[in-house]
């Protein structure tokens, strides 16, 4: 069942999924409001439980199922549900986006020209991108490449290159010595930058790279700052973030989190 389908079976699967999906959404709209939150909580718990059990249950150490437990074969199909649900969410998003901009145009709001450009851009990108998959005409592919690779990617690269100028202006402000912290940033950044470039390394090239003296070579000082000061700090932040993510995941999984951010608790 969980293998890629082709031909008429594929279309039957797509049709079946749409009918079942639409049916489920319709049934959900009929659920009384007071039962909706418990229903969401139950589905969230069951979905989370599947992934938790799959991760925690012991796995076979030999044989055909080595590295798997009895839930592992279902992991890919169940994970695909996320993609399917995101597909529905994307549909809602596109509908919302198009309706907002169509309203802008219909009501002649200020800036409606941008709405026209946005809708035209959606059509100009979506039509050739989908069509080229079904039509082998090289002109179609060429048109897509012109607007995507030729225009879009070049604009992206241009925007990325702007970061270099912003780094300079931000660094200038950060490196002005106004406090002890700024002074520390300035000194450590200066040493690390020197340690990364050959001209910096040339400054202390006369110091032997062995024994106690090697600690005074600029590249070793820079490396020490990176691996003994910077890395532990980054790891500490990542530990904290990881624990925060664990706590937030637990709250969502067990529906301890409030339903829609700032309404009453479940």
């Amino acid at each position: 069942m969980f293998v890629p389908q082709t031909g008429i079976t594929l279309w039957l699967f797509i049709l079946g999924a749409l009918v079942v999906g639409g049916g489920v959404f319709f049934v959900l709209t009929l659920v009384p409001t007071r039962f909706r939150k418990p229903l969401i909580a139950a589905v969230t718990f069951l979905a989370g439980l599947f992934f938790a059990l799959e991760f925690f249950l012991p796995v076979a150490t030999e044989g055909e199922t080595k590295g798997q437990n009895f839930l592992t074969p279902f992991l890919k199909p169940v994970s695909a549900w996320t993609t399917i649900l995101q597909g529905f969410a994307l549909g809602i998003g596109v509908y919302s986006l198009v309706s907002v901009h169509l309203r802008n145009i219909a009501r002649k709001r200020e800036g409606r020209g941008f709405s026209v450009v946005l809708l035209a851009a959606i059509v100009a990108m979506a039509v050739p991108a989908i069509w080229k998959e079904y039509n082998p005409d090289p002109r179609l592919k060429g048109f897509y490449e012109i607007i995507y690779d030729g225009a879009f990617n070049s604009l992206n690269a241009t925007m990325y290159s702007v970061v270099a100028f912003y780094i300079v202006s931000a660094a200038y402000r950060a490196f002005r010595i106004r406090s002890r912290e700024a002074t520390l940033i300035l000194i450590s950044a200066f040493l690390i930058m020197l340690g990364q470039v050959t001209i910096g390394q040339a400054i202390t090239n006369g110091i032997p790279n062995e024994g106690f003296a090697r600690n005074f070579r600029i590249e070793n000082i820079a490396n020490w700052i990176l691996t003994r000061v910077n890395s532990p700090a980054v790891l500490a932040i990542e530990f904290g973030v990881g624990i925060g993510a664990l706590a937030t995941s637990l709250r969502i999984w067990l529906s301890l989190e409030r339903g829609s951010y700032f309404d009453e608790e479940l």
Binding site: F55, V59, L97, V163, R173, S231, L256, Y261, F262
Partner: protein, 279 residues
């Protein structure tokens, strides 16, 4: 497929129990103390300044998908929207995920409704810009420059666009509050923004802002877990220094027999973690 090892099972389940226990204790009435987080206390200041200047506030939930980081960012932005709504102040929220537009509209409009100012909310201000990183950055920068925003709140997952957005806001003199779990972007925010929320403060933000017992309990649980982690690190370091790599061997594939093994090439803690050598 990745599966839990024995040590991961014990540690994760133990940590989860600690967090859930603290949540339940808080729900039963125990009120923990949360220290002041300057970035979050600055929200009212930033909103007040925007009101005085008569300019809008720009918020962003970053470049992430619909995941925990983005939902956490939306929770913070929704709180900002609630404060802004009390003054009838305009909030602009550009998003990079079309599927996120209805979710953001719902959360922000709810905040305006709860503040009793549904009239001040406009769905035009929840703007889908682009799913592409730099197109999004260009769009946000354009909004900042055209609207001359008075304040920006940048929360969520950011990448190289963080500095483009923050520097543009700096150019128009906006007061900026930012927070991200992306360790590579924190330095950019620190140099460009007025207040930055670092590390797990990001996840403490909703507890601090809402004072909701469940989230505050969760925060206390996180701190208990952090203490446990620090305790394990200190214990492991002491034992390893005396030639007993018990804690190390619990977590790493490359088991050590003596202290000398630790100093052999590829044997340091940082290298092992970087190479994904954890058990």
């Amino acid at each position: 497929m990745e599966h839990a090892t024995t040590s991961a099972r014990i540690i994760l389940i133990l940590f989860s129990v600690i967090i859930v226990t603290q949540v339940i204790r808080a729900q039963r009435g125990q009120r923990p103390f949360i220290r002041r987080i300057p970035g979050l206390t600055a929200i009212e200041e930033a909103v007040g300044r925007a009101v005085e200047m008569g300019r809008p506030i720009l918020t962003s939930v970053g470049m992430g998908g619909i995941d925990i980081i983005t939902l956490q960012a939306l929770a913070i932005v929704t709180h900002v929207a609630g404060v802004a709504a009390r003054f009838g102040q305009r909030i602009i929220l550009p998003v990079r995920n079309a599927a996120f537009v209805p979710i953001a509209e719902d959360a922000i409009s709810t905040a305006y409704n709860q503040a009793g100012r549904p009239d001040a909310f406009s769905e035009q201000d929840i703007i889908f810009l682009s799913g592409e990183q730099f197109a999004y950055a260009a769009g946000v920068s354009g909004l900042i420059q055209r609207e001359k925003v008075a304040a920006t709140f940048l929360f969520g997952q950011f990448f190289a666009e963080s500095l483009i957005i923050a520097e543009n806001a700096n150019q128009v003199g906006a007061i900026q509050v930012a927070g991200t779990p992306s360790t590579t972007q924190i330095p950019f925010f620190i140099v460009a923004c007025d207040y930055v929320i670092i590390g797990d403060e990001y996840y403490a933000a909703t507890a601090y802002l809402t004072r909701q017992p469940t989230i505050m309990g969760s925060l206390v649980g996180q701190d208990r877990v952090k203490m446990a982690v620090i305790g394990l690190i200190v214990l492991g370091a002491i034992l390893l220094s005396f030639g007993m790599p018990v804690v190390w061997n619990l977590f790493f594939d490359k088991e050590l027999a003596t202290l000398a093994d630790y100093f052999k090439p590829q044997g340091t803690l940082i290298q092992s973690l970087g190479a994904g050598g954890g058990k």
